[in-house]
């Protein structure tokens, strides 16, 4: 299956065409095609996973000849094509091939546990070549791509199933499934691309699908506005993407191949300045696509789309495309930003700032999807920060666990809102614990994973990020990132507890009080349960066996790192300063305690703080709470005060203010500024100064115009005569000058 992975994106692409063509005539409106195709993809992705696991366990024998055939088919094909024109490029291909082949040696000298360099599977064909530029189309399967294949197809499959119930009866039901298929195809295409050009294509395709699906209900102005905003903000990043890819293309001696790019970057054969410029440009793209501060503003607005779309695209898969790109081009970023040797770098800063700001903003939202959206922003900040401090595996591991539990949370929110069609936690929810038991349970499990309570999935991944920030990098690690990551844990705990309070506890309010609420059918509950199971156990795929956990047998520990993290010349090695953190029981305990402190603070506020009675006397409490709920704004201030002390309230509000006024306001400001400037210019410069000049000049021009007007005959041939005569005269002048 490893050799035929290109089939996987093809299936949903075909499904997209089929659904558009015949979907409306089918009894289930095309959803059956979509589900079948994604299910096949999921099975195939699992097959790829099995193939990759066996490849890692039994790495192909590293003999130069054999390995060259295995790994170097691209290289061979490419150098054949290029032999006539560019001999040096052939050398680079050979470097890449050789590097991958010797990956095992590097790992062994590294002193790491049983790491063998498993060469990735790369197959490509020449797509086109023009004037010495060769463009390949191909796929690259390594642990990272395999992981993404499985995650994307898994979440997509569950979202498809969920959607058959959730959007049932929608006026564009078929269209919805068609675009889900197209999205799945694009995302899979993106993750298996073996060159940067193909990545750009996939990147734009997923953006297009995101646009189409956010605006699924485009009849409402807000939705189409949100779609446009998402599209336009992403365009900003796309400029950076193009610049970065072009810089890298030339920096690496005219190649788009990601393996070659990484290999050259790791080998130090690309000038550091070029790597820096390239990775900074690419960071812009990451910031827009992966919702990093300050380009994250589109992501909360994107919640205007249907909830399954939010789960699939704006939580689990598409928004991690930026993170994936960093991981895929990690050699470039790692060396370009000197991640391995510094104590601070732009990627880590962006990630850390994002995770704090996202977490703070999640406090002040009353829409549950917005809470989750800001939570996603915050968690994406964790991933970027992890990659920024050099904890590659931790970042990707967090991507993996986050995809599962955040999809579960979003689908849970969709399940809650399915009957009442409202996501307002304060106005329309509350007390849903009893009436929707399965949604409640799965939501709680996913929340536990998000808040990083051991042993749920998020604990393991977040903990690895924090130990990474502590131990990696130059001397002293990344202390600022460690502090901010730990604070973020408290924020996460607090805002999720608040959301749970509003949704599941207290009294049923608004639409949920008047509506007959009951648990949803199996097509909604089963995906939730599956994701909750994943959120519980996914963390065990990467249990560390260092530090206090050294009792864990080797065969069980660090499986994720073992199978997913690449080893080879195309990935930073110890020589570049890349390392692996060890489990630190102190950090694990502290971060868990800080997270729990956030939970406890929110708990004290909501369950205990407002009334003498506990949760058992919910009615009286809720009545007391109702009075406060009436004064929503005051509550927010107070609530933040109690949880985080008097400091955070202003910060959160300031963050929200900053968000609403500065970031959104910059656009307005530029607009009004331009308008005002224009008005001023019109009044003083245009009307005042220029007009007098123009009027006097006009009189002069009037006379000369009368003469020159005759040349404006309107006859094309007269213009043609001027043109040819002018050209001839210019040519004559040139000849005279040149001779």
């Amino acid at each position: 299956m490893l050799e035929h992975a290109w089939i996987i994106p093809l299936i949903p692409a075909v499904s997209f065409v089929l659904i558009l063509a015949i979907g409306k005539k089918l009894p289930r409106g095309g959803s059956e095609i979509g589900i079948a195709s994604v299910a096949i993809c999921f099975v195939l992705a699992l097959a790829v996973g099995a193939g990759w696991v066996s490849r890692v366990n039994n790495p192909p024998v590293i003999e130069p000849g054999h390995e060259l055939v295995l790994q170097g088919e691209l290289g061979a094909a490419a150098s054949e094509r290029m032999a006539a024109t560019a001999a040096e490029e052939g050398d680079q291909q050979a470097t890449a091939t050789e590097g991958a082949a010797t990956g095992g040696d590097i790992a062994d000298t590294d002193g790491e546990a049983e790491h063998h360099g498993t060469p990735p599977v790369q197959r490509s064909v020449s797509w086109l070549s023009n004037g010495g530029v060769d463009i390949n189309a191909g796929f690259l399967i390594d642990g990272l791509a395999t992981l993404m294949l499985i995650v994307v197809t898994f979440v997509s499959l569950l979202v498809h199933i969920f959607s058959t119930d959730y959007v049932a009866g929608d006026r564009r039901y078929t269209h919805f499934f068609a675009f889900l298929s197209l999205f799945t195809a694009s995302m899979l295409f993106f993750v298996i691309s073996d060159n940067t050009l193909q990545m750009i294509v996939g990147w734009e395709l997923v953006g297009l699908c995101s646009f189409a699906l956010i605006g699924h209900w485009w009849e409402e102005k807000a939705n189409s506005d949100a779609a446009l905003k998402a599209f336009l903000v992403n365009r900003v990043g796309d400029v950076g993407l193009l610049c970065g890819m072009i810089v890298l293309y030339f920096a690496a001696g005219r190649t788009f191949d990601t393996l070659t790019l990484n290999t050259l970057a790791n080998a130090g054969e690309i000038r550091h300045l070029l790597l820096l410029v390239g990775s900074l440009s690419l960071m812009t793209a990451v910031m827009s696509k992966s919702g990093q501060f300050i380009l994250h503003t589109w992501l909360p607005d994107a919640m205007a789309g249907p909830t399954p779309v939010s789960a699939l695209i704006h939580a689990a898969t598409m928004v991690v495309a930026g993170v994936y790109m960093i991981a895929r081009l990690y050699g470039v970023f790692f060396n370009g930003l000197s991640i391995g040797t510094s104590n601070i770098n732009i990627m880590a800063i962006i990630g850390a700032v994002t995770l704090i700001f996202g977490g703070l903003l999640a406090f002040v939202q009353s829409d549950i999807k917005k809470v989750l959206a800001y939570s996603t922003v915050s968690q994406l900040g964790y991933m970027v920060m992890a990659l920024g401090v050099g904890a590659w595996t931790a970042g990707i591991f967090h991507l993996f666990t986050h995809a599962i539990f955040k999809a579960c949370l979003f689908l849970g929110a969709g399940s809650l809102a399915h009957h009442i069609h409202s996501f307002e936690m304060k106005d329309d929810m509350g007390g849903l614990r009893k009436v929707m038991p399965w949604t409640y349970r799965t939501f709680m499990v996913a929340t536990a994973a998000l808040v990083a309570i051991p042993p749920f999935a998020g604990f393991w991944s977040k903990d690895e990020i924090l130990v990474g920030a502590q131990q990696l990098g130059g001397d002293g690690g990344y202390p600022l990132m460690l502090v901010m990551g730990t604070l973020g844990a408290a924020l996460t705990g607090a805002y999720m507890t608040r959301a749970i309070w509003y949704v599941f506890f207290g009294e049923r309010r608004g639409a949920s009080a008047t509506h007959d609420m009951h648990e949803n059918g199996p097509r909604i509950v089963i995906p939730l349960v599956l994701l909750a199971v994943g959120a519980t156990f996914a963390g065990f795929t990467n249990i560390p066996n260092t530090g206090a956990l050294s009792f864990v047998p080797d065969g069980l520990a660090m499986r994720f790192e073992h199978f997913v993290e690449p080893v080879g010349a195309y990935f930073p090695s110890a020589a570049n300063g890349f390392g692996h953190p060890n489990f630190n029981i102190g950090i694990a305990i502290v971060s868990t305690l800080v997270g729990l402190a956030g939970v406890a603070g929110a708990y004290l506020w909501y369950w205990k703080g407002l009334g003498p009675q506990g949760i058992t006397e919910r009615n009286k409490f809720a009545r007391a709470g109702y009075v406060v709920l009436d004064k929503k704004y005051g509550l927010d201030i107070l609530y933040v005060d109690v949880i985080a002390g008097s400091v955070k309230g202003p910060i959160a509000r300031a963050a929200n203010w900053f968000h609403e006024n500065v970031i959104d306001g910059v656009v307005d400001f530029v607009g009004t500024g331009l308008r005002d400037t224009g008005g001023w210019i019109y009044k003083y410069i245009d009307q005042g100064a220029i007009d007098t000049v123009v009027n006097s000049a006009g009189a002069a021009a009037d006379g000369s115009g009368e003469v020159l007007r005759k040349t404006q005959t309107g006859k094309v041939q007269a213009y043609g005569a001027y043109f040819f005569l002018g050209a001839a005269v210019l040519a004559a002048i040139l000849i005279v000058i040149a001779s």
């Binding site: 404006q712 005959t713 309107g714 006859k715 094309v716 041939q717 043609g720 040819f724």
Partner: protein, 99 residues
């Protein structure tokens, strides 16, 4: 053969084409003169191709032929549209852009 004999032939054709473009009144004839100009360019391209022994000039000559086909298609459509609105193909009558 000298290179210049082809180049000068092309130059002569080019100038005759320019003369036609400027002097003819019938839109269709103007387009024909444009074809003359394009052809002289083709002769140049092929002559240089033979001179340098590479095939690029011939490839570009082919491209020019294709562009010429497109140009004639659109040009004749414009002439047709003019004929439909003005009932004439005399481009002297099309002077709405007069200053």
């Amino acid at each position: 053969m000298l290179l210049n004999q082809f180049l000068i032939l092309a130059a002569v054709l080019f100038c005759i084409g320019v003369y036609g473009v400027i002097s003819r009144r019938n839109g269709v004839l103007v387009l024909m003169s444009v074809e003359l100009i394009l052809n002289s360019v083709n002769i140049n391209l092929v002559a240089f191709s033979a001179m340098t022994g590479t095939v690029s000039g011939q490839v570009f000559a082919l491209f020019v032929i294709a562009v010429a086909a497109a140009e004639v298609g659109v040009g004749l459509a414009i002439v047709l549209a003019i004929f439909r609105t003005h009932r004439t193909v005399d481009i002297d009558h099309v002077d709405t852009m007069k200053g």
